[in-house]
């Protein structure tokens, strides 16, 4: 029992956990730099003489560049839409008192409870009818609708914590409501915007379900959806598969290592907002 609560035991738990997490990831990275034939003979060998040919094959044959570009468009477009709408709605709900305020707040909160996956059929038919099927815009609107309730809720919380004197001072100085939001309050809610951005962007970037259902045109597919096709195509060329996985994972890993605090706050924001 004493041992259970010793520093040595805790350190052992964390070191074991770190190995369990890092070894598969490093194994994939390492193998992506080795020829498939070489890998088949000795899977566990450091790539001391890195072979970049796998990455070259991915870039040339895999339509990877197109998928990557599409994912950037969809994620970036959704993010811009979400931030603009959440800033506006969050400002109004966080700073204004008016009739219907709590009703709108309740509506926004209820939006967080609806699982988008179960509404997929009507959404599919509706998008078809609106001519938004097989389009990036359709996907962007659906992602925005999914992320907005939490985004508005988080933003309104950030706006609410700012002192009311700010508004009055700005108004006395003759600022319009728009100038108040744009020049005075917006710079102060930047941390909230960062949380909303990460909270929304990561699941959108990582998603493969909505593209699977809504996109047919190979020219429009996103990176994670593309990866599933890629795996069918190159099932025997392990080196290429490793390189594909590495290229799909690397952008987020690098961002995460730079901004790990914001990532952790952003991705757990949905859980601790209460």
């Amino acid at each position: 029992m004493k041992l259970m609560f010793s520093k040595t035991f805790f350190r052992a738990v964390l070191i074991f956990n770190a190995f369990a997490i890092l070894i598969p990831v490093l194994f994939i990275f390492n193998s992506s730099l080795r020829e498939t034939s070489d890998f088949a003979l000795t899977p566990f060998k450091l790539a001391t003489d890195p072979a970049w040919s796998n990455f070259a094959s991915v870039w040339q044959d895999g339509d990877f560049a197109i998928y990557l570009k599409n994912s950037l468009i969809v994620t970036g477009g959704s993010l811009i839409l979400i931030i603009i709408c959440a800033l506006g709605a969050g400002f109004v709900l966080g700073r204004y008192e008016f009739r219907g305020h709590s009703l709108i707040m309740a509506f926004v909160l209820s939006g967080m409870l609806i699982p988008a996956k179960l509404a997929i059929l009507p959404l599919f038919i509706q998008l078809k009818w609106m001519n938004l099927l097989d389009s990036h815009l359709g996907l962007i609107l659906v992602y925005a609708a999914g992320a907005l309730p939490a985004a508005i809720f988080i933003m309104s919380g950030f706006f609410r914590t700012l002192p009311a004197d700010l508004d009055n001072a700005a108004r006395i100085d003759g600022a319009s409501e728009f100038q108040l939001l744009r020049r005075v309050l917006m710079p102060l809610v930047r941390p909230g915007m960062a949380i909303v951005a990460i909270y929304s962007a990561i699941p959108i970037w990582n998603d493969f379900f909505l593209p699977l259902v809504f996109l047919q045109d190979p020219e429009k597919k996103t990176i994670m959806q593309g990866l599933t096709m890629f795996f069918g195509q190159y099932s025997s060329q392990w080196g290429v598969l490793f390189a594909g996985l590495t290229m799909a994972a690397l952008p987020l890993i690098v961002l995460y290592l730079v901004l790990s605090e914001q990532f952790i706050k952003g991705l757990t924001a949905g859980a601790v907002k209460g």
């Binding site: 506006g88 609806i114 996956k117 179960l118 509404a119 598969l241």
Partner: protein, 306 residues
Amino acid sequence: MKLSGIKREQRKFRWLLLTPGLLIIVIFTSVPALTTLSYAFFKWEGFVRGSWAGFENFERLFSFPFRDQFLMALRHNTLVFIAIMVIQTSLGLLIAYALFNLKRGQRFFRTVTFLPVIFSLVIVGYMWQIMLDPYYGPINMILGDLGQPVWAKAWLGDTATALPTLVFINLWRWVGFPAIIFLAGLNAISTDYIEAARIDGASEGKIFRKILFPLLAPSMTIITILTFIGAYEWFDLPYILGGSNGSPAGSTDTLALMFYRLSFGSIDSGANEVGVGSALGVIIFTIVGVGAAVGSKLLRRREVEM
């Protein structure tokens, strides 16, 4: 005069700012969610709506051949919920407690622990498919080299091990999430309680059981509810690794996979059954909604008692 000018400006501005966001939510979330309920009560020919069907779709869901599929999928979801709650949550708590007690190096270990949570499930799924490959996968090679060739097997291809393997992969991807929530919960507890107990001579084990664990009740509530919702809507990982039919032989089938097959058809079962699929959707939504509501009520009461 001045004040009423501001009020008027605010009123105009209010709707200008609120409308875009609310409209997007209404059109792309509320309307489809409400229509999905109505779909379950109509006959369907492909994606074309037919006549009123009453409860016929529900009756079909609960008769051959859908009934057996439904019950098996429900059983899998329930097993997965229990397994995740027991294994993933306790491991998450252990990691959180270890992080809480180790100030030196905490930042590094915390960053590593949360790393898999940022990965797409597509990447996680394929990564483990390679790791667990029966012939070239490193895991089986290590197990075979340990002198026990019987330990090496097609983990994802065997009906007995496929579902537990998926739970394991889910654990690898998600354990950092409860760990970080618990860590935040532990950090929110006033150190005065812990110091006072230590001065009174309480052992670390007793402090954990009698003080820390009860005060973690709110974190436990959040994790239980999120795990419940996630387990009964489990789709991505089983789809990526077992396809829409829950291979091998339906051993990884879940309610959400069945819903997907019914909605959009599959290679095996052919044409889609939008009506029956929507009926299943209503049932999944009810399970998740009622479960989460009742669960959070019970757990909140437990928070107060503890």
